[in-house]
Symmetry: C2
Subunit: 325 residues, 2 copies
DNA sequence: TTGAAAGCGCTAACAG
DNA sequence: CTGTTAGCGCTTTCAA
């Protein structure tokens, strides 16, 4: 329309300096008048990169992951990158599909927190071969050679358990994720070592492997309550589960924390507002996500970096639900 | 590597029938051996479509939107389409940016729930001109010519308010979103009409326009409690806000629901587990999202369809927090 | 049943 | 400062 070649137009739109101001103005004016939108597909195809970070999480409805994504987005925004989010819905198959989809979309790097079903890492090794940077967070593989961001699961589980022991609890139930997940195992070790350290008897029946599914809470709560030796403390898998457990126990006439102390996980806002207020583990989701993104972006920009492992500290937050005395 | 032209390879990979089975097998074998991943960018560029639905929501950390996205994803999966999620973070500027980004990415259609800041619709009209299908949900524009999915905000606000009146409440506070949002206004009208219908005095001081920000709850709660005529009921903006309000009021020595009845919004799981259990409005987020996606996909497939408006019914769920008697 | 060639919208040498 | 040209990886006529 202006009788100008497309290279010049391209230069104007890209904001280059090697162009006559007048020409540039004319192009920009017409572009905005025509409501021109550059075709990202074509740009990305040409550039062989997409400026996009792919993310695979189990479920965005889970607030931990929602907050982690917030942290990822923030870092991505700062770096001028986009984020593409996929949910595995805790399914190994879906996770694999997501991965293919992200690779096909040619994202520049991928951040993953694996599904509960995922018990092997083969689908991720090909990424490394293809040179696509990869960072795991929270739910990671123990052995794989890749960057990862985790919290001090072992230590915090130990600290939480010791706190319960100090409150005088002797029969401490522990609800955690599936055994094959590394962070579940770390937490379990922390719990077990705390018991052993303080000479508290370990009982397998007090250990519940949940699948992070909210529809199972009632079932395992009843199981715990019906044990011949009912627990006098529960270390829950997350705050929502803790809340539901407390509700069920109260209905059974149990007092919290006098009869059963309850320790949550994640330190959601609601912890402060429920009754009794809920002790919990502050799990810095936003920071974890941000760290993962930071590492990934670094690896995208400098292909030769070594995998990095970062540990973010969780904190025990004590409230009424574990104040037995 | 096979001495076969790329057209033939393309045919094999696309699963066409006009190809020799033997050739096809060889191609597919080699492809999987090489871990070949088709370049979605190139395919989309060529096809002039991306099989992708763009979504703009205020915040995915908000459970309503997280669940709505779940509904969108489900429909998209069924239709073999992808979903690209953007967050406006309740900012008008970010919303505009998201929109440009989605258009540049050449998504086939867009689903939007507008930010609290958004008080005009100019940035959306160009979409219609470009022939990009557009569906709004929950937070919609009243006047724009586009498909939309909403709930019966007016009726449900009326029903909730009438329920409180029937409990004997006379000074009913109402917390809602910003005035320029259509659904806030609808709810407010429902509330006002319910009061008038039952000859309950309308007091402006009982109406709070919040911005869906959790950090303002304490402030407006104190404001309401310090009114010369303290409210005896509160219709809250969502369940989390309701929970926090209840917490603050309990600390002030008020009994719920005897002194102040509280009605939440969204019917989160936690409503059943808190004390007193929380009455709420069941707001079918998943269905709303699914409907929006269904309409959008229809419009993508049949460009000539007229805009469709769909209303999904919310339901009043009565629990202890409003059972005054 | 297969191949050659054009083109999707853009960028980036290179030449002028 | 601007235009020409080639090419990113794919699909799709058209011809053989």
């Amino acid at each position: 329309m202006l009788g100008i070649s497309k290279s010049t137009v391209s230069r104007a739109l890209a904001g280059r300096s090697d162009i006559h101001p007048e020409t540039k103005r004319k192009i920009l004016d017409l572009a905005s008048q025509l409501q021109y939108e550059p075709n990202t597909l074509a740009i990305n195809l040409k550039q062989q990169k997409t400026n996009t970070i792919g993310v695979i999480v189990p479920e965005t409805i889970n607030r931990f992951f929602a907050r982690a994504i917030g942290g990822i987005q923030k870092q991505a925004d700062m770096a001028g990158m986009n984020v593409m989010i996929c949910q595995s819905n805790e399914s190994y198959i879906a996770e694999k599909k997501n991965l293919h989809s992200l690779v096909s979309s040619r994202v520049d790097g991928i951040i993953v927190s694996i599904s509960t079903e995922t018990d092997r890492s083969d689908h991720f090794v090909s990424l490394t071969e293809k040179g696509i940077p990869l960072v795991f967070f929270d739910r990671v593989f123990e052995d794989i050679v890749a960057s990862q961001v985790v919290t001090n699961n072992y230590e915090i589980a130990m600290e939480g358990t010791e706190h319960l022991i100090k409150q005088g609890c002797k029969r401490i139930a522990f609800v955690t994720g599936p055994e094959h997940l590394f962070n579940s195992r770390s937490r379990l070790s922390g719990y077990l070592d705390a018991l052993r350290k303080h000479n508290v008897q370990v009982k397998d029946s007090y250990i519940v492997h949940s699948h992070y599914r909210s529809d199972k809470v009632e079932e395992y709560t009843r199981y715990l309550l019906n044990l011949p030796q009912r627990p006098d403390a529960i270390f829950a898998i997350n705050d929502y589960a803790a809340l539901e457990m407390i509700h069920i126990m109260k209905k059974s006439g149990l007092r919290i924390p006098q009869d059963v102390a309850v320790l949550g996980f994640n330190n959601e806002n609601l912890c402060r507002f429920v009754e009794p207020s809920l002790s919990s583990i502050d799990h810095p989701a936003h920071d974890i996500g941000a760290s993962a993104a930071e590492i990934l972006i670094n690896h995208i920009r400098h292909q030769d970096l070594k995998p990095e492992k970062r540990v973010i500290k969780s904190n025990l937050i004590i409230r009424e639900s574990t104040e037995v005395k």
